[in-house]
Amino acid sequence: MFRNGVTVLSLLAMLASSEVVSASDDWRTELEDVCGNTSEAAVLSHMELQKLIAKGERVSKALESECEAVRIVYQKRVQKCLDLYRNIADTMQPDGKVQPPAQ
C-alpha cells in the first residue's frame, strides 16, 4: 500500500515536471515579448506599458518554479525590464500625458 503510494506520488511528480517543461516555453516567449520592447519603452503608451508590466510579472512568477540555473539569470533580467517600464510608466499620468521630470 505504502509502496503504491510512493509510485503514485512519483508519477504525479513526473506529470508535474512535464507540465513545468511545457510551461517553460510559455514564459520564454513571454519574456521575449517583454524584454524585446525595452529599446522603445520611451515611446510606448501607458496602456502598452501596463500590459508589458503585467506580462513581466507573470514571467517572474513562472520563473519561481524553474530550476536554479535558469532562475538566477532570467529573474534578474525580467526584473531589469520591469524596472524600466515601471519607471517610465511613473513619469506618465494615466491619460498618457508625459510629466516633465522634476528640476
Binding site: C35, S39, C67, I72, C81, L84, D90
Partner: protein
C-alpha cells in the same frame, strides 16, 4: 569611565581613517584597468581567485550582453558566481562552454566537477596562479591598432567601435532577446554645479550603443523620481556616472572628456 574609553576608541579610529587620506593612489597600468578579482568561493574551493579583465571581453562583446542578457551584476563580486552555475551553463559558461566559437577558435570551457591534471591548465586561465604573460602580450598587440587615449586602458573604446576597429557582439542565439532598432533620445548638455566649469556633453547615442536603456535606467538614473542634480562628490564615490566611469569605462581623471562644452563669455 566607559565614556572615556569610547572617546579614546573614537580618537584612534579617526587617526586610522586619516592615514588613508591625502595619499597618491596607485595608477593602474593600462593593461590592468578594469580588472576584477572575483573571490567569493574560489579560495574555499582550493583554487586561486579569478582574475577577470574587462578589456579582453569588451573588445569582443557589448556591455549589455553580459550585464543584462547573461545577468552579471555591475558591482564587483556581487553576482556570487558559483562553479555549479557554470556547470549548469549559466554566467561564464554561457559562452565558456567549450563549444561556442570566437574568431575561429573554440572558447575554452569554464568549471567542472572533476578535472585531470591536464584539464587543470584550463582552470588556471581564469583562476590565475601567476600573472598571465600571454594576455599581457595580447594586450600590447591589440592596443597597437586602436585609437589612443589618456587614462584607463589607453584605448578610446568609443571611437574604436564607431570606426569599426573591432566589432562587439551584441547577440547570442537563445540567450539575448531580439532587439528592435532603438529610439535613442537626443544628446544632453548638463550644467556643472560650479559657475564657469565647462558643461558636460552627454551622448545617449554613445552610451546606448554599448548598454541599451536598462543598464542605466532606472538603476543608476531614474527617469523621473531620483534626482536631476548630482554632485561630483557622489560620482567620485562610484554613484551615477561613477558606477562605470570609475572602474571600467574611461576614468574620471579625464576631466575634459565629459566637461567638453566650450565656456560661454
Amino acid at each position: 569611565m566607559n565614556r572615556v574609553f569610547v572617546s579614546l576608541i573614537l580618537l584612534v579610529g579617526a587617526t586610522v581613517t586619516w592615514a588613508q587620506d591625502g595619499v597618491i593612489k596607485r595608477r593602474l597600468p593600462p593593461f590592468e584597468y578594469g580588472r576584477v578579482i572575483i573571490n567569493n568561493y574560489s579560495q574555499q574551493a582550493g583554487l586561486p581567485p579569478v582574475v577577470f579583465d574587462h578589456w579582453l571581453h569588451r573588445s569582443k562583446y557589448s556591455c549589455r550582453l553580459c550585464h543584462l542578457d547573461i545577468g552579471f551584476s555591475m558591482v564587483a563580486n556581487s553576482t556570487k558566481i558559483r562553479a555549479v552555475d557554470n556547470i549548469n551553463g549559466v554566467f561564464c559558461a554561457t559562452c565558456h562552454n567549450g563549444k561556442m566559437m570566437m574568431n575561429g577558435s573554440i572558447i575554452f570551457p569554464a568549471c567542472a566537477k572533476e578535472y585531470t591534471r591536464e584539464e587543470y591548465k584550463v582552470c588556471v586561465r581564469c583562476h590565475q596562479l601567476e600573472p598571465n604573460v600571454t594576455l599581457g602580450k595580447k594586450f600590447t598587440s591589440f592596443v597597437k591598432n586602436m585609437p589612443v587615449e589618456k587614462f584607463g586602458n589607453g584605448i578610446n573604446w568609443e571611437k574604436a567601435e564607431r570606426e569599426g576597429k573591432f566589432k562587439a557582439v551584441d547577440h547570442i542565439e537563445g540567450v539575448s532577446p531580439t532587439r528592435p532598432k532603438m529610439k535613442v533620445p537626443n544628446d544632453m548638455l548638463l550644467k556643472a554645479n560650479l559657475e564657469g566649469m565647462p558643461k558636460v556633453i552627454f551622448s545617449h547615442t554613445k552610451h546606448a550603443a554599448w548598454g541599451g536603456c536598462k543598464l542605466c535606467h532606472p538603476g543608476l538614473f531614474s527617469i523621473n523620481k531620483g534626482r536631476s542634480v548630482y554632485s561630483m562628490d557622489e560620482i567620485l564615490e562610484g554613484k551615477f556616472c561613477g558606477a562605470c566611469h570609475k572602474t571600467v569605462a574611461f576614468p574620471l581623471n579625464d576631466c575634459r572628456r565629459c566637461h567638453a562644452a566650450p565656456v560661454e563669455g
